[in-house]
């Protein structure tokens, strides 16, 4: 890679992050696009290991922040090899019930697949979808919905 290219990439990343942070500021300060970035509802599996990741509307793609969270979970799971986990997938209330059950399952599996690429055995991970049945925030507003679109890693034993 030429120096020029590296420079250009750095510049791109730099501008992109400015743009994104501008976006986040423009909305509520707790969302990037419509993905929740705040910590209000987050609990911790261990110090510095957040238990949940958030998704955009109708999406199951893991964001950069989500992947970072899951890497922390994976390294914690590697250190605590006796612990198994359940990944609970959720959707917001702005969708039909049956589709949201499938969407929650897909979200939890996106998290599971990522943990597995970091060496966690699939045998230690089970998955359950609650669809839109168990919101953490009762509000009917975009911020509440962003907190509810989530996959939560819960200790199973």
């Amino acid at each position: 890679m030429s120096l020029n290219k590296i420079f250009r990439n750095t510049l791109l990343v730099f501008f992109a992050s400015i743009l994104l942070s501008a976006c986040a500021v423009k909305t509520t300060g707790k969302m990037q696009g419509d993905v929740y970035t705040g910590k209000d509802t987050v609990e911790y599996l261990a110090s510095g290991v957040p238990d949940r990741v958030f998704f955009a509307t109708n999406e199951t793609v893991l964001t950069t922040a989500s992947r970072e969270t899951l890497r922390k979970q994976a390294s914690w799971l590697r250190k605590n090899s006796k612990i198994n986990v359940v990944l609970e997938g959720h959707a917001d209330e702005r969708g039909t019930r049956e589709y949201n059950l499938a969407l929650g399952e897909r979200r939890a599996n996106a998290a599971k697949d990522y943990l597995m690429t970091y060496g966690i055995s699939g045998n230690r991970i089970s998955v359950i979808s609650y669809g839109k049945e168990r919101p953490v925030d009762s509000g009917s507003n975009p911020l509440a919905w962003s907190k509810n679109r989530r996959s939560v890693t819960v200790k199973a034993n």
Partner: protein, 449 residues
């Protein structure tokens, strides 16, 4: 001169003839802004029967009570305007034998329902007649016997017969609704299966609320229900026998099964099975327990519903990138997308008449209940709201029942979930009375045909 008289005579004859045959008809294919005025005379009861029913059912006057059921049904249908009984001039027993049509015409009744209830061998015997007031004749008479606890159903059956005689189509009044009764906070909602008569009476709870239950649906004979239960925190499709209360899990799937419905012959359950982030549609034969995979696609395939002849299945898939409605043969071949409008489409349900598919549509932050032809043409949106979904057809395919939720603040305040119904015409939108909050309604077929 003679010729003139003759002419007048002919005219009179034609008028009279026209009048005599001006049998009442109600058009249910259009929104009805002028519901047909009719009189539901209280059913007459002799003193002896009245006393016995009072003992048995704790009802002051069973005749009045049954006629109230009929009256309410007819009013809710939006097609009829039952007149205030206070204006009735004739006594029920006399009206039932020989109505004085002038009296009923005077209060603008075009049709009249009369009847008689008796106790015969500890059973309830009812006889009723439908009269065309303008033509001055009886147009229907029926009698039947039933156990007295079924007295509300007597009112529903009478309504069905009257509705059928006047509209030319089968009614939907002697039916039940199965639904999910909801209580408690939005974040930890308690849900139970509940069943009630179509008019909101006789509610019974079928589960205790210990586990989350969703999406109950009747089998064609209304004795079984298939639904999703989170029993032991394993979301699976279950089968419940309403009479015996026996529940069993459907199949042995290593993951979540959901979105169940019966096939039109009642022999199979069709549902989604989710595994490794992919939901596909499966069927299970209830007798042979044979499982068949119907769709095979890496997208979400869910909410399957059979056509009434069992030859086709409509379902919801996001294989195009977003939720849309598809139709395929019942073996899974010839998959064809049918929804192409703006927005997302979900919860397709095939009409019992076979010609339409009802759906939920999400567009620009609003939810719609609509219908389209089975090839996707002729989309018609019936109602718009903040949140509503999951339509279910009345057995005659003329009315849809669905549920609607309201907005809430962060404390969950303002939230409610209620059942609503609307005619296929887009008119006659009504809240359906339930004891608690309610969702996921499913309409039974006619209990007596």
């Amino acid at each position: 001169m003679r010729k003139f008289i003759f002419l007048i005579y002919v005219c009179l004859f034609v008028f009279n003839w026209g009048k005599a045959w001006s049998l009442i008809e109600v058009d249910i294919t259009r929104g009805n802004l002028n519901p047909l005025p009719l009189a539901v005379s209280p059913l007459s009861v002799d003193q002896n029967s009245k006393d016995k029913f009072k003992d048995l059912l704790k009802l002051e006057d069973i005749g009045i009570e049954i006629s109230k059921v009929v009256e309410n049904n007819l009013r809710q249908s939006g097609l009829f305007n039952p007149l205030d009984p206070k204006a009735f001039l004739q006594k029920p027993d006399i009206a039932h034998v020989k109505p004085r049509f002038e009296d009923w015409a005077l209060i603008k009744a075009q049709a009249l329902i009369t009847g008689e209830v008796k106790i015969v061998d500890e059973k309830l015997r009812v006889e009723f007649r439908l009269w065309d007031v303008l033509a001055g004749k009886e147009i229907m008479a029926l009698a039947f016997t039933t156990v007295s606890e079924n007295w509300r159903r007597v009112g529903h059956i009478i309504t069905d017969k009257v509705y059928q005689r006047l509209t030319g189509e089968k009614g939907y009044f002697d039916t039940r609704i199965i639904y999910v009764a909801e209580e408690g906070l939005k974040t930890s909602r308690i849900k139970k299966l509940a069943i009630m008569d179509q008019d909101g009476f006789n509610t019974k709870y079928l589960t205790l609320g210990n586990e989350l239950v969703l999406t109950p649906r009747f089998n064609p004979t209304n004795q079984m229900v298939t639904y999703l239960s989170y029993f032991k925190n394993l979301p699976r499709v279950y089968l419940l026998d309403i009479e015996t209360g026996i529940q069993e899990v459907v199949g042995d799937f290593p993951g979540m099964t959901f979105a169940p419905r019966f096939s039109p012959d009642g022999k199979k359950i069709i549902m989604s099975f989710a595994k490794d982030g992919n939901s596909d549609i499966y069927t299970m034969d209830l007798e042979s327990r044979e499982v068949e995979k119907i769709t095979n696609h890496p997208s979400i395939d869910t909410s399957p519903s059979y056509s009434p002849d069992g030859k086709y299945i409509c379902f919801n898939s996001d294989r195009s990138g977003y939720q849309q409605i598809y139709v395929m043969r019942s073996d899974g071949s010839k998959v064809k997308r049918i929804s192409f409008g703006n927005g997302l489409y979900g919860t397709p349900v095939w009409s019992p008449r076979g010609d339409l598919i009802a759906f939920t549509k999400l567009h620009k932050g609003k939810f719609y209940i609509g219908v389209m032809r089975t090839d996707g043409t002729g989309e018609r949106l019936l109602t718009e709201n903040y949140y509503q979904e999951a339509p279910s057809w009345s057995p005659n395919g003329r009315v849809l029942i669905f549920y609607r939720e309201t907005k809430s603040d962060s404390a969950g305040k303002g939230f409610s979930a209620k059942l609503w119904s609307i005619d296929l015409t887009g008119y006659n939108e009504r809240m359906v009375k339930t004891e608690t909050d309610a969702s996921d309604p499913s309409w039974s077929s006619l209990l007596t045909d």
